[in-house]
Subunit: 295 residues, 2 copies
């Protein structure tokens, strides 16, 4: 594994890689890697000849009162994980290189970035879309991999790739969970043992709604209420909504197409999100991916 | 010259071109081509092995009360000009292909897009930046060529290329003028003979300011007033401002770095813009270009 700490170093490594002619996959992360990231790297290895991973805690996607300066980090452990998972190039840029003086161009994801997490984190998805577009330009991967856990992010990036004609195949991989169901997240590190127990209500609520869906319930209200009734252990429920998983439009009435039941809430100082796809498709996560533009 | 009327057709032609390995230059236009566009194509030919030109009247850069539906067009003449100028591929997409249902991702150029023309044309530069980013993704040129006449556009696109790490060299070429000084513009077609005469006040005003600058005047107020005093033939003066040509920040006090004196106004139904660079550099237009990222 080679490590690039700035764009010129990365460019040299990528040039060599490109000469070999294989498919380059990209896994952008904010570090403090867990099995969810490891799974993305594995998906990437399965589809690509080489894996570029990045670790960058992107300042433009954090609000002024958010946890930018406290975001968990352990670069040694992250590097070991990347090495063990077979990452080819690990890119660890500095914020000053990605955001130079006078930086002013942002990608605006439009209405999709305003709902759900976007209404609690103004500007968050603008920052996400911008940094991902930048990293895509820098790495120029053939495929890029994102986790279903950040469903709204996946939907927004999918739309961005489509709208901006980016020559990239976007792959969304299933959420990886702890043995008891808690969705893997770097922010789980914020939880005390008691909070960690209470956090389980989210995955249980989503599992209950999934169970109801599998038993034939198609009423959006009923599915949402099933989940909501189990979310009492949260210190703050921010939202529990059933949305079209590709557009983030609220589903009213009956679930028909690919639906995402999305939850966000706070436990202690941790803001946690999770979701499940409600669909009759065999592998619904796969439907979130955007297949390559044919050559 | 080959013509591509949609993205898949273009992709096939580009693939062949890329196999040849040379540098690909790109000249995006809105059609109704004139000697200014011809000059851009010539600059492109001088620097590149092949020239991709596009003709696309981009709806997202027009306001609801603007001239989208009346924008002049003459595709036969445009094709002949491109052929004569040695264009390799002419790309003429449809709006429905570039803006599919649910399109929602825009490039926001920030404060630079709000001033000058931006304050008279809300959303204009967002539309420009977005369509240029899209065309860059589709064509993937090594170099792209823009005219100095649209100075604010050039500055915004330069910043966009830099901010989004686009792997493109942006070249700005000098404004081409009619023999009497009027800056070439597709919108000059809107002018009656009388209006055409009155329109000359713009280039005369800019020439007077240039003359004052060359005689040593460095006061922003004096330079602006020199130009303004000659703009009485406009039906409406929208702005006459001295700005930093790279940032569009208003210059107050003394002109030091690369300054642009920018004018916009209306004559009849034509909205005309023009500018001159005030600089001690030998070839100031050249300073607007963004050189290639070294490999």
């Amino acid at each position: 594994m080679r490590i690039a700490r700035n764009i010129p170093e990365l460019r040299v490594l990528l040039k060599t890689l490109r000469k070999q002619g294989g498919r380059i996959g990209f896994v952008p992360t904010m570090g403090y890697l867990h099995e969810g990231h490891a799974s993305l790297i594995q998906h990437c290895r399965a589809r690509c000849d080489s894996v570029v991973a990045s670790i960058f805690v992107n300042p433009t996607q954090f609000g002024p009162d958010e946890d930018l300066n406290h975001y968990p980090h352990d670069l040694d452990r992250d590097q070991a994980l990347c090495l063990n998972q077979g990452v080819t190039i690990l890119f660890i840029p500095e914020a000053t290189e990605l955001y130079t003086t006078g930086f002013s161009t942002f990608i605006d994801p439009g209405p999709m970035g305003q709902v759900l997490c976007g209404s609690y984190r103004p500007g968050h998805f603008r920052g996400v879309a911008t940094v991902v577009a930048k990293l895509f330009s820098i790495v120029q991967p053939d495929l890029a991999f994102f986790g279903q856990k950040d469903l709204q992010q996946a939907a927004i990036l999918r739309r961005m790739v489509w709208d901006l004609n980016l020559p990239i195949e976007l792959v969304v991989a299933p959420t990886i969970r702890e043995h008891d169901g808690l969705a893997m997240s770097s922010r789980n590190a914020y939880l005390s043992i008691g909070e960690r127990m209470r956090a389980l209500c989210i995955s249980r609520a989503l599992a209950a709604a999934t169970n109801a869906f599998q038993k034939g319930v198609r009423s959006a209200t009923e599915l949402v209420d099933t989940a909501k009734s189990l979310l009492g252990d949260l210190d703050e429920l921010q939202y529990c909504e059933l949305v079209d998983a590709l557009t983030m439009d609220t589903i009213e009435g009956q679930v028909k197409r690919l639906a995402g039941l999305c939850v966000a809430g706070k436990i202690g100082r941790a803001r946690l999100i999770d979701n499940v796809l409600l669909s009759e498709a065999a592998d619904p996560t796969r439907l979130l991916s955007l297949v390559a533009i044919p050559d």
